[in-house]
Amino acid sequence: MQQEVVLALLAKEPAHGYQLRARLRQALGPLGDAMNDGQVYVTLARLERSGQVTCERAAGDPDRPDRKVYGLTAAGHRRVADWLAEVSWPKPDLAEFHLKLLAAAAARLADPIAIVDAQRRELLRRLRDAERAAMAEPEGSEPALLFDGIVLRLQADLRWLEACERVWTRRRSGRG
Protein backbone atom coordinates (compact mmCIF):
# COMPACT_ATOMS: atom_id res chain seq x y z
CA MET A 1 0.00 0.00 0.00
CA GLN A 2 2.95 2.29 0.54
CA GLN A 3 3.76 3.02 -3.09
CA GLU A 4 0.07 3.54 -3.79
CA VAL A 5 -0.01 6.40 -1.28
CA VAL A 6 2.59 8.27 -3.27
CA LEU A 7 0.94 7.44 -6.58
CA ALA A 8 -2.44 8.61 -5.32
CA LEU A 9 -0.99 11.95 -4.28
CA LEU A 10 -0.05 12.49 -7.93
CA ALA A 11 -3.41 11.42 -9.34
CA LYS A 12 -4.92 14.89 -9.45
CA GLU A 13 -1.95 16.66 -11.02
CA PRO A 14 1.82 16.40 -11.36
CA ALA A 15 3.75 17.77 -8.40
CA HIS A 16 7.19 18.44 -6.98
CA GLY A 17 8.50 16.05 -4.36
CA TYR A 18 8.37 18.71 -1.68
CA GLN A 19 4.70 19.28 -2.45
CA LEU A 20 4.03 15.60 -1.81
CA ARG A 21 5.85 15.82 1.49
CA ALA A 22 3.85 18.88 2.48
CA ARG A 23 0.60 17.13 1.54
CA LEU A 24 1.50 14.12 3.70
CA ARG A 25 2.38 16.39 6.61
CA GLN A 26 -0.95 18.17 6.30
CA ALA A 27 -2.84 14.89 6.25
CA LEU A 28 -0.95 13.17 9.06
CA GLY A 29 -0.13 16.04 11.41
CA PRO A 30 2.51 15.12 13.99
CA LEU A 31 2.60 11.57 12.67
CA GLY A 32 3.90 12.94 9.39
CA ASP A 33 6.78 14.67 11.18
CA ALA A 34 8.41 11.32 11.82
CA MET A 35 8.62 10.58 8.12
CA ASN A 36 12.03 10.57 6.65
CA ASP A 37 11.98 13.13 3.84
CA GLY A 38 14.20 10.92 1.73
CA GLN A 39 11.59 8.16 1.73
CA VAL A 40 9.33 10.02 -0.66
CA TYR A 41 12.20 10.40 -3.15
CA VAL A 42 13.28 6.78 -2.82
CA THR A 43 9.73 5.67 -3.52
CA LEU A 44 9.41 8.10 -6.45
CA ALA A 45 12.64 6.74 -7.95
CA ARG A 46 11.34 3.17 -7.68
CA LEU A 47 8.06 4.14 -9.28
CA GLU A 48 9.90 5.88 -12.07
CA ARG A 49 12.02 2.80 -12.75
CA SER A 50 8.93 0.60 -12.89
CA GLY A 51 7.27 2.95 -15.38
CA GLN A 52 4.46 4.21 -13.17
CA VAL A 53 5.79 7.71 -12.69
CA THR A 54 7.38 10.14 -15.12
CA CYS A 55 9.80 12.75 -14.06
CA GLU A 56 10.47 16.04 -15.82
CA ARG A 57 13.08 18.51 -14.88
CA ALA A 58 11.60 21.94 -14.51
CA ALA A 59 13.55 24.94 -15.65
CA GLY A 60 16.11 26.18 -13.16
CA ASP A 61 18.74 24.22 -11.32
CA PRO A 62 18.68 20.71 -12.87
CA ASP A 63 20.71 19.11 -10.08
CA ARG A 64 18.23 19.83 -7.31
CA PRO A 65 15.76 16.98 -6.83
CA ASP A 66 13.18 19.50 -5.65
CA ARG A 67 13.14 20.93 -9.15
CA LYS A 68 11.78 17.72 -10.60
CA VAL A 69 8.10 17.46 -11.42
CA TYR A 70 6.55 14.02 -11.06
CA GLY A 71 3.44 12.78 -12.84
CA LEU A 72 1.59 9.50 -13.33
CA THR A 73 1.89 7.28 -16.42
CA ALA A 74 -1.12 5.29 -17.62
CA ALA A 75 0.15 2.34 -15.56
CA GLY A 76 0.36 4.61 -12.52
CA HIS A 77 -3.22 5.78 -12.99
CA ARG A 78 -4.41 2.17 -13.33
CA ARG A 79 -2.69 1.19 -10.12
CA VAL A 80 -4.29 4.08 -8.23
CA ALA A 81 -7.72 3.07 -9.57
CA ASP A 82 -7.11 -0.55 -8.47
CA TRP A 83 -5.99 0.61 -5.06
CA LEU A 84 -9.07 2.77 -4.54
CA ALA A 85 -11.34 -0.12 -5.55
CA GLU A 86 -9.56 -2.62 -3.31
CA VAL A 87 -11.14 -3.46 0.03
CA SER A 88 -8.57 -4.10 2.74
CA TRP A 89 -8.30 -3.40 6.41
CA PRO A 90 -5.63 -4.01 9.05
CA LYS A 91 -6.54 -7.18 10.92
CA PRO A 92 -6.55 -7.01 14.71
CA ASP A 93 -3.61 -9.02 15.93
CA LEU A 94 -4.62 -10.16 19.39
CA ALA A 95 -3.68 -13.81 19.24
CA GLU A 96 -0.12 -13.27 20.48
CA PHE A 97 -1.22 -11.48 23.63
CA HIS A 98 -3.99 -14.01 24.18
CA LEU A 99 -1.50 -16.89 23.95
CA LYS A 100 0.88 -15.05 26.26
CA LEU A 101 -1.78 -15.02 28.96
CA LEU A 102 -2.51 -18.70 28.41
CA ALA A 103 1.17 -19.60 28.59
CA ALA A 104 1.76 -17.52 31.70
CA ALA A 105 -1.12 -19.21 33.48
CA ALA A 106 -0.35 -22.73 32.30
CA ALA A 107 3.32 -22.65 33.21
CA ARG A 108 2.71 -20.53 36.32
CA LEU A 109 5.58 -18.35 35.17
CA ALA A 110 3.72 -15.11 35.58
CA ASP A 111 0.39 -13.82 36.77
CA PRO A 112 -1.92 -13.18 33.80
CA ILE A 113 -3.60 -10.35 35.71
CA ALA A 114 -0.25 -8.63 36.20
CA ILE A 115 0.44 -8.98 32.48
CA VAL A 116 -2.96 -7.47 31.68
CA ASP A 117 -2.26 -4.61 34.10
CA ALA A 118 1.10 -3.83 32.53
CA GLN A 119 -0.47 -3.88 29.09
CA ARG A 120 -3.28 -1.61 30.23
CA ARG A 121 -0.82 0.91 31.59
CA GLU A 122 0.96 1.00 28.26
CA LEU A 123 -2.30 1.44 26.34
CA LEU A 124 -3.43 4.19 28.71
CA ARG A 125 -0.17 6.02 28.07
CA ARG A 126 -0.72 5.68 24.33
CA LEU A 127 -4.29 6.84 24.76
CA ARG A 128 -3.04 9.85 26.65
CA ASP A 129 -0.57 10.64 23.86
CA ALA A 130 -3.29 10.24 21.24
CA GLU A 131 -5.73 12.43 23.18
CA ARG A 132 -3.10 15.11 23.59
CA ALA A 133 -2.24 14.98 19.92
CA ALA A 134 -5.95 15.09 19.00
CA MET A 135 -6.53 18.08 21.25
CA ALA A 136 -3.65 19.94 19.66
CA GLU A 137 -5.21 19.68 16.20
CA PRO A 138 -8.00 21.98 15.05
CA GLU A 139 -11.43 20.37 15.26
CA GLY A 140 -12.48 18.77 12.00
CA SER A 141 -8.94 18.82 10.57
CA GLU A 142 -7.47 15.83 8.74
CA PRO A 143 -5.03 14.83 11.51
CA ALA A 144 -7.82 15.20 14.13
CA LEU A 145 -9.86 12.63 12.24
CA LEU A 146 -6.89 10.29 12.09
CA PHE A 147 -6.31 10.60 15.85
CA ASP A 148 -10.01 9.93 16.40
CA GLY A 149 -9.51 6.55 14.80
CA ILE A 150 -6.44 5.82 16.90
CA VAL A 151 -8.29 6.80 20.08
CA LEU A 152 -11.27 4.59 19.22
CA ARG A 153 -9.08 1.57 18.52
CA LEU A 154 -7.21 2.04 21.79
CA GLN A 155 -10.53 2.23 23.61
CA ALA A 156 -11.60 -1.03 22.01
CA ASP A 157 -8.33 -2.68 23.05
CA LEU A 158 -8.77 -1.41 26.60
CA ARG A 159 -12.25 -2.90 26.73
CA TRP A 160 -10.92 -6.22 25.59
CA LEU A 161 -8.29 -6.06 28.36
CA GLU A 162 -11.13 -5.54 30.84
CA ALA A 163 -12.72 -8.71 29.55
CA CYS A 164 -9.36 -10.53 29.88
CA GLU A 165 -9.06 -9.30 33.45
CA ARG A 166 -12.54 -10.49 34.35
CA VAL A 167 -12.03 -13.98 32.96
CA TRP A 168 -8.55 -14.47 34.38
CA THR A 169 -9.62 -13.16 37.78
CA ARG A 170 -12.43 -15.73 37.82
CA ARG A 171 -10.07 -18.50 36.74
CA ARG A 172 -7.47 -17.59 39.31
CA SER A 173 -10.02 -17.75 42.08
CA GLY A 174 -11.15 -21.12 40.77
CA ARG A 175 -14.61 -19.98 39.75
CA GLY A 176 -14.00 -20.12 36.03
Binding site: Q2, L127, I150, L152
Partner: protein
Protein backbone atom coordinates in the same frame (compact mmCIF):
# COMPACT_ATOMS: atom_id res chain seq x y z
CA UNK B 1 2.55 22.66 37.39
CA UNK B 2 2.87 21.48 40.95
CA UNK B 3 3.52 24.00 43.70
CA UNK B 4 6.17 22.16 45.63
CA UNK B 5 4.76 19.02 47.15
CA UNK B 6 1.91 20.49 49.16
CA UNK B 7 -0.75 17.92 49.88
CA UNK B 8 -4.09 19.46 48.95
CA UNK B 9 -6.34 16.55 49.80
CA UNK B 10 -5.62 13.50 51.94
CA UNK B 11 -7.66 10.53 53.09
CA UNK B 12 -6.45 7.98 55.62
CA UNK B 13 -8.13 4.66 56.32
CA UNK B 14 -11.32 5.99 54.79
CA UNK B 15 -14.32 3.67 55.15
CA UNK B 16 -17.99 3.81 54.24
CA UNK B 17 -20.26 0.96 55.24
CA UNK B 18 -23.94 0.37 54.66
CA UNK B 19 -26.18 -2.15 56.40
CA UNK B 20 -24.99 -4.52 59.12
CA UNK B 21 -24.21 -8.16 59.91
CA UNK B 22 -24.81 -10.33 56.82
CA UNK B 23 -26.03 -7.34 54.84
CA UNK B 24 -22.90 -5.27 55.52
CA UNK B 25 -21.57 -3.59 52.40
CA UNK B 26 -18.13 -2.02 52.49
CA UNK B 27 -18.54 0.56 49.72
CA UNK B 28 -15.22 2.20 50.60
CA UNK B 29 -12.90 -0.14 52.39
CA UNK B 30 -9.81 1.48 53.87
CA UNK B 31 -8.69 4.01 51.27
CA UNK B 32 -5.48 6.01 51.68
CA UNK B 33 -5.02 8.87 49.24
CA UNK B 34 -2.84 11.94 48.87
CA UNK B 35 -3.47 14.47 46.13
CA UNK B 36 -0.81 17.12 45.65
CA UNK B 37 -1.62 20.70 44.87
CA UNK B 38 -1.98 21.10 41.12
CA UNK B 39 -2.20 17.39 40.50
CA UNK B 40 -4.88 15.59 38.48
CA UNK B 41 -5.71 12.17 39.87
CA UNK B 42 -8.13 9.78 38.19
CA UNK B 43 -9.74 6.90 40.07
CA UNK B 44 -10.86 4.26 37.64
CA UNK B 45 -12.95 1.20 38.18
CA UNK B 46 -16.11 -0.60 37.09
CA UNK B 47 -19.50 0.66 38.24
CA UNK B 48 -20.20 -0.40 41.78
CA UNK B 49 -16.54 -0.37 42.84
CA UNK B 50 -17.19 2.48 45.28
CA UNK B 51 -15.56 5.30 43.36
CA UNK B 52 -18.59 7.61 43.41
CA UNK B 53 -19.10 6.99 47.11
CA UNK B 54 -15.44 7.82 47.64
CA UNK B 55 -15.83 11.10 45.77
CA UNK B 56 -18.90 12.03 47.80
CA UNK B 57 -16.97 11.37 51.01
CA UNK B 58 -14.01 13.45 49.84
CA UNK B 59 -16.26 16.39 49.00
CA UNK B 60 -18.34 16.23 52.15
CA UNK B 61 -21.53 15.22 50.36
CA UNK B 62 -21.65 12.11 52.52
CA UNK B 63 -20.24 11.15 55.92
CA UNK B 64 -17.62 8.43 56.29
CA UNK B 65 -18.01 5.48 58.67
CA UNK B 66 -14.35 5.76 59.62
CA UNK B 67 -11.03 7.30 58.70
CA UNK B 68 -9.89 10.88 58.14
CA UNK B 69 -10.15 13.47 55.40
CA UNK B 70 -7.87 16.47 55.23
CA UNK B 71 -8.33 19.41 52.86
CA UNK B 72 -5.52 21.97 52.65
CA UNK B 73 -4.21 20.87 56.03
CA UNK B 74 -7.60 20.98 57.79
CA UNK B 75 -9.37 17.88 58.97
CA UNK B 76 -12.87 18.12 57.53
CA UNK B 77 -14.54 14.78 58.24
CA UNK B 78 -15.41 15.71 61.81
CA UNK B 79 -16.70 19.18 61.06
CA UNK B 80 -20.25 20.08 62.00
CA UNK B 81 -22.78 20.42 59.22
CA UNK B 82 -22.33 24.19 58.98
CA UNK B 83 -18.61 23.92 58.49
CA UNK B 84 -19.11 21.16 55.92
CA UNK B 85 -21.58 23.32 54.04
CA UNK B 86 -18.99 26.09 53.84
CA UNK B 87 -16.38 23.63 52.53
CA UNK B 88 -18.79 22.32 49.91
CA UNK B 89 -19.63 25.85 48.85
CA UNK B 90 -16.18 27.38 48.62
CA UNK B 91 -13.53 24.70 49.07
CA UNK B 92 -14.73 22.12 46.60
CA UNK B 93 -16.14 22.33 43.08
CA UNK B 94 -18.28 19.44 41.89
CA UNK B 95 -18.85 18.19 38.37
CA UNK B 96 -21.42 15.43 37.88
CA UNK B 97 -22.23 13.02 35.09
CA UNK B 98 -25.79 14.37 34.78
CA UNK B 99 -24.61 18.02 34.92
CA UNK B 100 -27.16 18.97 37.66
CA UNK B 101 -27.83 22.43 36.25
CA UNK B 102 -30.91 24.36 37.32
CA UNK B 103 -33.25 24.06 34.34
CA UNK B 104 -35.02 27.36 34.89
CA UNK B 105 -31.81 29.38 35.14
CA UNK B 106 -29.74 30.55 32.17
CA UNK B 107 -26.15 29.41 31.74
CA UNK B 108 -24.73 32.54 33.34
CA UNK B 109 -27.22 32.37 36.22
CA UNK B 110 -26.20 28.78 36.88
CA UNK B 111 -22.54 29.76 36.94
CA UNK B 112 -23.00 32.76 39.24
CA UNK B 113 -25.27 30.94 41.68
CA UNK B 114 -22.51 29.49 43.90
CA UNK B 115 -20.98 32.97 44.21
CA UNK B 116 -24.32 34.48 45.23
CA UNK B 117 -24.86 31.65 47.73
CA UNK B 118 -21.43 32.41 49.17
CA UNK B 119 -22.50 36.02 49.70
CA UNK B 120 -20.60 37.73 46.91
CA UNK B 121 -21.98 41.00 45.56
CA UNK B 122 -24.22 40.30 42.53
CA UNK B 123 -22.19 42.53 40.23
CA UNK B 124 -18.92 40.72 41.06
CA UNK B 125 -20.66 37.35 40.79
CA UNK B 126 -21.96 38.22 37.32
CA UNK B 127 -18.53 39.41 36.19
CA UNK B 128 -16.87 36.23 37.43
CA UNK B 129 -19.52 34.06 35.76
CA UNK B 130 -19.05 35.88 32.44
CA UNK B 131 -15.28 35.33 32.65
CA UNK B 132 -15.73 31.65 33.34
CA UNK B 133 -18.21 31.12 30.52
CA UNK B 134 -15.72 32.79 28.23
CA UNK B 135 -13.02 30.46 29.51
CA UNK B 136 -15.09 27.38 28.67
CA UNK B 137 -15.87 28.81 25.23
CA UNK B 138 -19.54 29.59 25.86
CA UNK B 139 -19.59 33.39 26.12
CA UNK B 140 -22.17 33.48 23.33
CA UNK B 141 -24.46 31.03 25.13
CA UNK B 142 -24.67 32.95 28.43
CA UNK B 143 -28.40 33.62 28.18
CA UNK B 144 -29.39 30.18 26.98
CA UNK B 145 -31.31 27.81 29.20
CA UNK B 146 -29.77 24.35 29.74
CA UNK B 147 -32.50 22.87 27.52
CA UNK B 148 -31.18 24.99 24.65
CA UNK B 149 -27.63 23.61 25.04
CA UNK B 150 -26.05 20.37 23.86
CA UNK B 151 -24.83 17.83 26.41
CA UNK B 152 -21.24 18.91 25.94
CA UNK B 153 -22.16 22.57 26.39
CA UNK B 154 -24.12 21.78 29.54
CA UNK B 155 -21.15 19.99 31.00
CA UNK B 156 -18.93 22.97 30.18
CA UNK B 157 -21.39 25.24 32.00
CA UNK B 158 -21.26 22.82 34.93
CA UNK B 159 -17.46 22.95 34.92
CA UNK B 160 -17.56 26.76 34.87
CA UNK B 161 -19.96 26.63 37.82
CA UNK B 162 -17.61 24.31 39.70
CA UNK B 163 -14.88 26.96 39.35
CA UNK B 164 -17.00 29.95 40.44
CA UNK B 165 -15.72 30.17 44.00
CA UNK B 166 -12.11 29.33 43.09
CA UNK B 167 -12.22 25.96 44.83
CA UNK B 168 -9.16 24.34 46.36
CA UNK B 169 -10.09 21.19 44.51
CA UNK B 170 -12.49 20.11 41.78
CA UNK B 171 -14.12 16.69 42.16
CA UNK B 172 -15.63 15.20 39.01
CA UNK B 173 -17.87 12.12 38.91
CA UNK B 174 -17.98 10.52 35.42
CA UNK B 175 -17.82 13.94 33.74
CA UNK B 176 -17.86 12.40 30.26
CA UNK B 177 -20.36 9.66 31.06
CA UNK B 178 -23.23 11.26 29.13
CA UNK B 179 -21.25 12.73 26.25
CA UNK B 180 -20.51 11.70 22.69
CA UNK B 181 -16.99 11.51 21.33
CA UNK B 182 -16.64 15.12 20.21
CA UNK B 183 -18.16 16.59 23.37
CA UNK B 184 -15.85 14.33 25.38
CA UNK B 185 -12.90 15.89 23.61
CA UNK B 186 -14.13 19.38 24.58
CA UNK B 187 -14.33 18.33 28.22
CA UNK B 188 -10.89 16.70 28.01
CA UNK B 189 -9.49 19.94 26.61
CA UNK B 190 -11.01 21.85 29.47
CA UNK B 191 -9.62 19.54 32.13
CA UNK B 192 -6.21 19.73 30.48
CA UNK B 193 -6.42 23.51 30.63
CA UNK B 194 -7.37 23.38 34.30
CA UNK B 195 -4.51 21.00 34.98
CA UNK B 196 -2.17 23.36 33.13
CA UNK B 197 -3.46 26.28 35.20
CA UNK B 198 -2.59 24.44 38.42
CA UNK B 199 -6.09 23.42 39.47
CA UNK B 200 -6.14 20.34 41.69
CA UNK B 201 -8.51 17.74 40.28
CA UNK B 202 -9.87 14.34 41.26
CA UNK B 203 -11.87 12.50 38.60
CA UNK B 204 -13.64 9.20 39.14
CA UNK B 205 -14.58 7.45 35.94
CA UNK B 206 -14.72 4.26 33.97
CA UNK B 207 -13.94 6.15 30.75
CA UNK B 208 -10.28 5.49 29.86
CA UNK B 209 -10.24 8.63 27.71
CA UNK B 210 -10.57 11.02 30.60
CA UNK B 211 -8.58 8.78 32.94
CA UNK B 212 -5.68 8.93 30.50
CA UNK B 213 -5.44 12.72 30.86
CA UNK B 214 -4.58 12.44 34.57
CA UNK B 215 -1.12 12.75 36.08
CA UNK B 216 -1.82 9.70 38.18
CA UNK B 217 -4.27 6.89 37.70
CA UNK B 218 -5.55 4.73 40.55
CA UNK B 219 -7.42 1.48 39.97
CA UNK B 220 -10.29 0.70 42.33
CA UNK B 221 -12.12 -2.61 42.90
CA UNK B 222 -14.54 -3.60 45.64
CA UNK B 223 -14.04 -0.42 47.64
CA UNK B 224 -10.24 -0.51 47.72
CA UNK B 225 -7.35 0.82 45.65
CA UNK B 226 -5.58 -1.97 43.79
CA UNK B 227 -2.92 -0.26 41.72
CA UNK B 228 -1.49 3.06 40.75
CA UNK B 229 0.04 4.29 37.51
CA UNK B 230 1.91 7.51 36.99
CA UNK B 231 1.15 8.79 33.52
CA UNK B 232 3.31 11.90 33.61
CA UNK B 233 6.47 12.99 35.32
CA UNK B 234 8.56 9.87 34.91
CA UNK B 235 8.85 9.61 31.17
CA UNK B 236 7.65 13.10 30.37
CA UNK B 237 6.04 13.86 27.08
CA UNK B 238 6.65 11.24 24.47
CA UNK B 239 7.11 11.65 20.80
CA UNK B 240 3.78 11.05 19.10
CA UNK B 241 5.24 9.05 16.25
CA UNK B 242 7.07 6.73 18.64
CA UNK B 243 3.74 5.87 20.21
CA UNK B 244 1.88 5.12 17.02
CA UNK B 245 4.48 4.34 14.42
CA UNK B 246 4.75 6.26 11.24
CA UNK B 247 1.49 4.77 9.91
CA UNK B 248 2.61 5.06 6.34
CA UNK B 249 5.71 3.16 5.54
CA UNK B 250 6.99 4.57 2.28
CA UNK B 251 9.81 2.09 1.95
CA UNK B 252 7.66 -0.72 0.62
Amino acid sequence: MRSGDTVMLAARGLRKEYGRDDGLVRAVDGVDLEVLQGETVAVMGPSGCGKSTLLHLLGGLDRATGGEIWLAGKRIDRMRERGMAAIRRAGVGFVFQAFHLMDELTAIENVELPALLAGRPPRAARRRAAELLDRVGLADRARHLPSQLSGGQRQRVAIARALTNEPLIVLADEPTGNLDSEATLDVLRLFEQLNGAGQTLVIVTHDPRIAATADRLIGMRDGAFIDETRLTGVTGKRDTASSFGTLVNLDG
